[in-house]
């Protein structure tokens, strides 16, 4: 049995790593829960953003935060453009899954053609900084990620709960006809939400650029676990997505520490399968 310090450190690293799962899950959760669109290309968009931040940082020496300020609005635009296709062709849930899978492949190829299949690493001074709290080390970058994710999650939550637009979106997800009878123009709001979902992919991408080593095939590595996180956190619930992400991150990290690193992928899916069998109405 590993020592308490080791377990504590594993727990902290796990929760912090789970922040990225949560951040990636948020955009997916919103579009799936409120628009009934399953967007597999979310991960590809995040990596596209990551590569752009990397490129701007290494070739043009632009600070990642400035890059993010450019990339995130660009992703918003891409998200609305994508939604135009869904809207124009009245794509259903399964259709959106297949279609965005194709987008993901096309983006992956585009990334590979431009940046090659080599591993890319964006070296910054932020990557090495960490805070020492008692016996534990807290990496600054991951902590920042979690804070940003938490702010976004809470901000989105408040937006959905407290503003008229947010309430209209939730109402339209339950009963679009009646929402329309009270003046909700669901079509227009759906564009906004699709854009926001993609913008979140941009935020996640910025952190991926700083934290991870980039390679085109990495696009697919988050897919399974993040979908598990989306469902565990309940569709359309940004805070749920973040907490589920941290829960899965922590469990994976503990499984790594206690069992072996290779067992960690089983964790999220076991949780998911148990939840779906226990309560098929969880979604």
């Amino acid at each position: 049995m590993p020592s308490a310090t080791l377990l504590g450190q594993a727990l902290i690293s796990g929760v912090l790593a789970g922040g990225l799962y949560g951040l990636l899950a948020m955009g997916l959760s919103l579009s799936w829960g409120l628009l009934r669109l399953v967007n597999l290309s979310h991960f590809a968009l995040a990596f596209l953003a990551a590569y752009i931040v990397y490129e701007l940082g290494t070739d043009y020496h632009i600070e990642p935060w400035w890059s993010a300020a450019m990339v995130v609005p660009a992703m918003f635009a891409i998200g609305t453009a994508q939604h135009w296709l869904f809207d124009r062709f009245k794509v259903n849930e399964l259709g959106s899954l297949l279609m965005t899978f194709s987008f993901a492949i096309i983006l992956e190829v585009a990334i590979q053609l431009y940046w090659t299949a080599d591993f890319r690493r964006y070296e910054t001074e932020y990557a090495t900084r960490s805070i020492k709290a008692g016996p534990f080390y807290i990496p600054v970058l991951e902590l920042t990620l979690c804070i940003v994710a938490a702010v976004l999650a809470c901000g989105t939550w408040v937006w959905l709960r407290r503003t008229y637009v947010g309430k209209a979106l939730r109402a339209a997800a339950e009963d679009p006809d009646i929402a329309a009878a009270y003046g909700v123009n669901h079509k227009k709001l759906a564009y906004l939400l699709s854009g926001i979902g993609a913008a979140y992919a941009g935020v996640a991408g910025t952190f991926i650029a700083l934290i991870a080593t980039l390679a085109p095939a990495q696009i697919w590595t988050y897919l399974g676990v993040v979908f598990a996180v989306v469902i565990i956190g309940r569709l359309g619930n940004p805070i749920g997505a973040l907490l589920a992400g941290m829960l899965i991150g922590a469990s994976e990290s503990l499984a790594q520490a206690v069992l072996s690193p290779a067992w960690s992928p089983v964790v999220s899916f076991s949780v998911l399968i148990v939840i779906l069998l226990w309560d098929p109405e969880w979604l």
Binding site: R161, Y164, K167, A168, R170, A171, E174, D175, D177, I178, A179, A180, A181, Y182, G183, V184, N185, H186
Partner: protein
């Protein structure tokens, strides 16, 4: 006339449910449409609310040709629906449901006053305002549905089977509320199975059978005619 419907044909897909129906509602008036199950009452009221588009016929509200108005703009013209089966946003709280009623900018400005008015009509909703609407009893849900419509500051409220599935005492309350809505200045178009209640509250009424209007007039006169009995009982 506030609402003028002329020769409406309405249906779902290729199924027609309403043929050649004309009806009027004047400002400040309660008009009931009665008829047995499956006569096309809900179809008719959904078309007036903009949920369904008419195949043929003219629908004018306060002089505006509603066939040219988009579904989500009907509410802005002053039409609010209390749908059959209530159709609340069950995962959202009572107050959020009410707020959806004043989603449009014009009604939003009067949010506080409208909320006070609804809570005044239904004091129980003030206590339950933080609860998900789906957890309320049937009668309370009907109150939320009516409250939601009133929040829109409508000039006409469309009631679709407000008594359905409610206990008899609650039904009486609902019809009192309908009268009160009219007294506050809105016109009412009411679609009901419960013949006596619907005729009791109405200024004028129509009898719908099999998608057609078979009789119309003052409630007292209609009760004396055989149409209602034939439509409901077949004998």
């Amino acid at each position: 006339m506030l609402l003028e419907a002329r020769n409406l044909h309405i249906g779902y897909g290729d199924a027609s449910a309403v043929w050649d129906v004309s009806l009027d509602v004047a400002a400040g008036e309660i008009v009931s449409v009665i008829g047995p199950n499956g006569a096309g009452k809900t179809t008719l009221i959904n078309a007036v609310a903009g949920l369904l588009r008419c195949r043929r016929g003219d629908l004018h509200f306060d002089g505006v040709d509603m066939n040219r108005v988009k579904s989500h703009d009907y509410c802005g013209h002053g039409i609010a629906l209390v749908p059959e089966g209530r159709r609340l946003f069950v995962k959202m709280t009572v107050e959020e449901n009410l707020e959806l009623g004043c989603y449009l900018a014009s009604a939003r400005a009067a949010r506080a006053a409208s909320l006070e008015r609804v809570y005044g009509l239904f004091p129980i909703l003030r206590d339950k305002r933080r609860q998900p609407a789906g957890e309320l009893s049937g009668g309370q849900q009907q109150m939320v549905a009516i409250g939601r419509a009133l929040m829109a500051r409508p000039r006409i409220v469309l009631f679709d089977e407000p008594s359905l599935g409610l206990a008899p005492t609650v039904v009486d309350d609902m019809f009192d509320i309908i009268a009160k809505v009219r007294d506050d200045g809105a016109a009412v178009l009411l679609v009901e199975q419960n013949v006596l209640k619907a005729l009791d509250v109405a200024d004028r009424a129509y009898v719908l059978e099999q998608g057609r209007i078979v009789a119309q007039g003052l409630p007292g006169d209609l009760l004396k005619q055989p149409h209602i009995r034939e439509a409901y009982l077949g004998v």
